[in-house]
């Protein structure tokens, strides 16, 4: 597993290295409006799920096609896209962007004449989970997630099994948030936030490049958890002075 450090730039967000050339062409051209490409795009999503990859822009293109062709909407695919967005980032806009392209679940189901209630139950549940994630209420998140509610059990029995290690990617995203704040943190707190039994915490911590000292995990410096007070001084460039220098030359 990779070391938990926040990404320095967004190039992997808008054009992930795992995206095939064909998909790139498709979502950058007018072909993205062609509904006959849907099966192909959906297949790409399923392969992302299986391989544990993530391509937000391709997934948004699917939702866009559903928007223009409501009769082709596939509720299962929609749920998968939302789960992907949820587990891909803590503070990013991904989940909101996906929701922005969706209508109310009942309208979506109405257009495809489906009476499968899963979508109607899951969208509010996932939205709630997302609110908990983005406000860093990780303990509460796991409580809801592991809870006995109908939504939680549908999610876990019907959708999560096809995702490659969904729990790990959630934990990884949470540790990113933790790493940007803490230089050391108690293992008990970690076990609550990452929903790991105390025996497994230290093992997990070492996987993501942190180390254990007694009851604490030590997080290597990453630029966010080792801030120093600084003084911003004025920085005058030579180019700003060209006019003055030129005037002095007379």
């Amino acid at each position: 597993m990779a070391v938990a450090v926040p990404k320095k730039n967004l190039s992997d967000w808008h054009s992930p290295s795992t995206r095939p050339e064909v998909i790139h062409e498709l979502i950058h051209g007018v072909d993205r409006y062609n509904p006959t490409n849907l099966p192909f795009m959906e297949e790409y999503l399923l392969s992302q799920i299986k391989e544990g990859q993530y391509d937000l822009f391709a997934n948004l293109a699917i939702l866009k096609l559903y928007q223009f062709n409501p009769q082709h909407s596939n509720p299962d695919i929609i749920v998968h896209i939302l789960v992907k967005a949820l587990s891909a980032t803590v503070h990013g806009p991904d989940f909101g962007l996906s929701l922005g392209l969706l209508r109310e679940p009942s309208a979506i189901l109405h257009d495809i004449e489906s009476d499968d209630e899963a979508l109607t139950i899951l969208i509010p549940f996932l939205t709630n989970l997302h609110e908990l994630v983005r406000t860093c209420q990780f303990t509460k998140f796991w409580k809801e997630f592991n809870g006995e509610s109908e939504a939680a059990s549908i999610l876990k029995t019907r959708y999560l099994p096809s995702h490659a290690s969904p729990l790990d990617s959630l934990r990884f995203q949470f540790s990113l948030s933790i790493a940007s704040c803490f230089s050391t943190i108690s293992l008990t707190q970690l076990s609550r936030w990452l929903d790991l039994p105390s025996g497994q915490v230290s093992q997990y911590v070492e996987q993501i490049g942190w180390s254990v000292e007694g009851e604490k995990a030590v997080i290597p410096k990453n630029g966010d958890n080792d801030v120093k007070a600084g003084v911003v001084r004025e920085n005058v460039q030579l180019s700003q002075l060209t006019k003055l220098v030129a005037a002095a030359a007379y």
């Binding site: 926040p6 990404k7 320095k8 730039n9 967004l10 808008h14 062409e25 950058h28 051209g29 007018v30 072909d31 409006y33 822009f57 948004l60 866009k64 928007q67 223009f68 409501p70 803590v90 503070h91 990013g92 806009p93 909101g96 962007l97 922005g100 392209l101 209508r103 109310e104 309208a107 609110e131 983005r134 406000t135 860093c136 303990t139 948030s177 933790i178 940007s180 704040c181 803490f182 230089s183 050391t184 943190i185 108690s186 609550r192 604490k216 966010d224 958890n225 080792d226 801030v227 120093k228 007070a229 600084g230 003084v231 911003v232 001084r233 004025e234 005058v236 700003q240 006019k243 003055l244």
Partner: protein, 608 residues
């Protein structure tokens, strides 16, 4: 990539032809009979038509007489100028002549119908289409468009684009860029206006309901995108812009552009279509696609889009809104501020333009959005612009900074008044009366409301941030358990630590760096000068301070002094005329304005 002609589905053609010719089933057995019957019918119809035509002609001649002489003369000359592709004349007539005549004769009513004036312009269909485009724009701007106006305006603009896109080869027409921009701008405006109107099935009369149920394609999102994408593809504008960015020579770009894109008409239409696509995508709630569309367009100070103020302002407004939807507040702030500075400088030259009012309104909205963005991401930004924001939104800013439910309400009001009017992709089911009824009984949340909720959820997520930030400002280090006792309503250390993580995230974001090319790119930056590290449960606070900036002030003033000095040096010496008392001219020589130098010159001329 798909074949552009295949993508440009002939929806308009189909629609027009299906209106003109009723569909008839073909029956080979009664072929001859049918043919004879049709012939008879046709003859009959022809005779009647002749009669009607004669009558109509007479009526039209009479109506044409009613048209004021100066309008007639204007139209003839306008037609002439367009035939000759005489850009300066077209520009002049388009920008000033049309508006003057509108004010003189048509401030309360429509311009004459195109059919009426067609004898004046030799029944030139292309000119009449262009004329109708202006005609409907005037209806939308000054009057209340009826459903017929809306439909006909759509059909007319489609006819125009059809002519441009589907003629044999590029058409021999050239129009000023201002007109081309206005045309596409109006196209998107009428689309959004129609969609908003159509989205509400209430208050529609029978006739309107019936028309809407039959015309699914009119002003549909799909057909509008279709036109814009077709213009982009035909002009090869993306390829051209990419090549220019790579520094290819003008000849190479021309070659890439192909027979269409190398013509200014098509190139400009393609370019403006990209900006209209940005706008449509934002309106349809897809900010990532909006920014992606602009990946080849240069947004810097000297870019092509800055040549037209309305286009400049619209582009930046929508780019800023897209950044807001991505939570990239600093980028949104930067975008709004840069165009507002430009607008303040340009204001004096633009008060005459008929779009001045709408441009000002859009700028006004950006000040409101700035109030939102700077509250969510406080930090240093341009003082002159921020002082205007503070002036206009003093009360709101105070409420926003206080936080709480009241602030949420203010965020909501500001967003609703300043955000774009979002649109639904799909209209209500007018074609199915029973579905429409259930739609009316249980209307879905409208698009703007949906985007408002998404925006508010962004706000709610960071609502505790400013309190805890203010608290941290007081300490250099503090234990989390102590923070618990200071904050209201919080129950435990864990919640405080979670809040701190939110604060951390709220002062980090991605922003477009200087050497990043596309709008979607961004680097992780720190947006607030207050920062902290947590060691176990001990919070260490670090604050970055910035020195006052003097150099800029000195440079500006030294340059200014230099300019004043140069002006004085280069002005002619004042030559005093005898009768003028020396006390009167003394203050003039010290006056740093040009006036001091100018007056003696006149005196000198008079003396000679």
């Amino acid at each position: 990539m798909a074949d552009p002609t295949a993508f440009y589905e002939p929806t308009e053609d189909e629609l027009l032809s299906s209106l003109a010719v009723p569909v008839q089933s073909y029956n080979p057995e009664s072929d001859a009979d049918e043919y004879r019957r049709l012939q008879e019918l046709e003859q009959h119809a022809y005779a009647q038509q002749q009669l009607m035509v004669a009558e109509q002609e007479q009526e039209q001649m009479q109506a044409l007489e009613q048209v004021p002489e100066d309008v007639k003369r204007f139209l003839v000359l306008f037609h002439q100028a367009i035939l000759e592709n005489d850009l300066p004349t077209i520009t002049n007539m388009y920008e000033s002549g049309w508006n003057k005549l509108t004010q003189a004769h048509y401030s309360q009513n429509e311009w004459p119908e195109a059919e009426l004036i067609s004898p004046l312009v030799g029944n030139d269909q292309v000119f009449l289409t262009l004329y109708r485009e202006l005609y409907f724009r005037h209806v939308y701007a000054k009057l209340q468009p009826t459903i017929d106006d809306r439909f006909q305006s759509y059909e007319n603009i489609c006819e125009l684009f059809n002519y441009l896109l589907n003629s044999d080869g590029p058409v021999p027409l050239d129009l000023p860029i201002q007109w081309l921009w206005d045309m596409l701008d109006e196209f998107v405006y009428q689309f959004s206006n129609f969609s908003t109107w159509r989205a509400n099935p209430k208050n529609k009369n029978e006739e309107e309901l019936e028309a809407l149920s039959e015309a699914q394609n009119i002003w549909s999102s799909y057909s509008v995108l279709n036109v814009l994408y077709s213009l982009v593809q035909k002009s090869q504008i993306n390829e051209q812009l990419k090549a220019e960015k790579q520094g290819k020579s003008a000849e190479e770009v021309q070659e890439l552009a192909g027979e269409y894109g190398s013509k200014p008409l098509y190139r400009n239409l393609g370019y403006f279509s990209l900006i209209c696509l940005l706008r449509v995508h934002v309106l349809l709630g897809d900010p990532t696609l909006a920014l992606q569309t602009m990946e080849n367009v240069d947004l810097s100070g000297g870019a092509f889009l800055t040549r037209i103020t309305a286009c400049h302002v619209t582009t930046y407004y929508h780019v800023g809104c897209a950044y807001m939807a991505l939570g990239r507040w600093p980028d949104a702030i930067k975008t709004f501020i840069s165009v507002l500075i430009f607008f303040i400088r340009m204001k004096q030259y633009h008060t005459r333009s008929y779009q001045y009012g709408s441009i000002t309104k859009q700028c006004e909205r950006m000040y409101a959005l700035l109030a939102i963005c700077t509250t969510l991401s406080p930090g240093p930004s341009d003082e002159s612009i921020m002082s205007i924001v503070k002036e206009h939104y003093a009360d709101q800013l105070a409420v926003l900074q206080r936080g709480g439910d009241e602030a949420l309400e203010t965020f909501k009001d500001l967003f609703l008044s300043a955000s774009p009017k979002y649109l639904n992709v799909n209209p209500p089911p007018y074609e199915d009366p029973s579905a429409l009824e259930s739609y009316l009984a249980n209307p879905p949340i409208d698009a703007t409301q949906r985007h408002l909720e998404l925006f508010l959820s962004d706000v709610v997520a960071v609502k505790g941030v400013s309190n805890i930030r203010n608290l941290l400002k007081l300490y250099t280090s503090i234990d989390a358990s102590k923070l618990v006792t200071f904050s209201e309503g919080e129950t435990g250390e864990e919640e405080i630590l979670q809040q701190l993580m939110v604060l951390k995230a709220a002062s980090r974001t991605y922003a477009k760096g200087v050497n990043q090319e596309t709008l979607l790119d961004g680097e992780r930056i720190v947006t607030n000068n207050l920062d902290f590290t947590i060691d176990g449960s001990m919070v260490h606070v670090e604050e970055t301070t910035s020195h006052r900036r003097f150099a800029g002030f000195f440079i500006r003033n030294a340059e200014h002094a230099q300019r004043v000095f140069n002006t004085i040096k280069s002005s002619p010496l004042p030559i005093q005329r005898k009768p003028v008392p020396s006390t009167a001219s003394a203050p003039q020589t010290t006056d740093k304005k040009a006036g001091g130098a100018w007056q003696p010159k006149r005196a000198r001329v008079a003396a000679q």
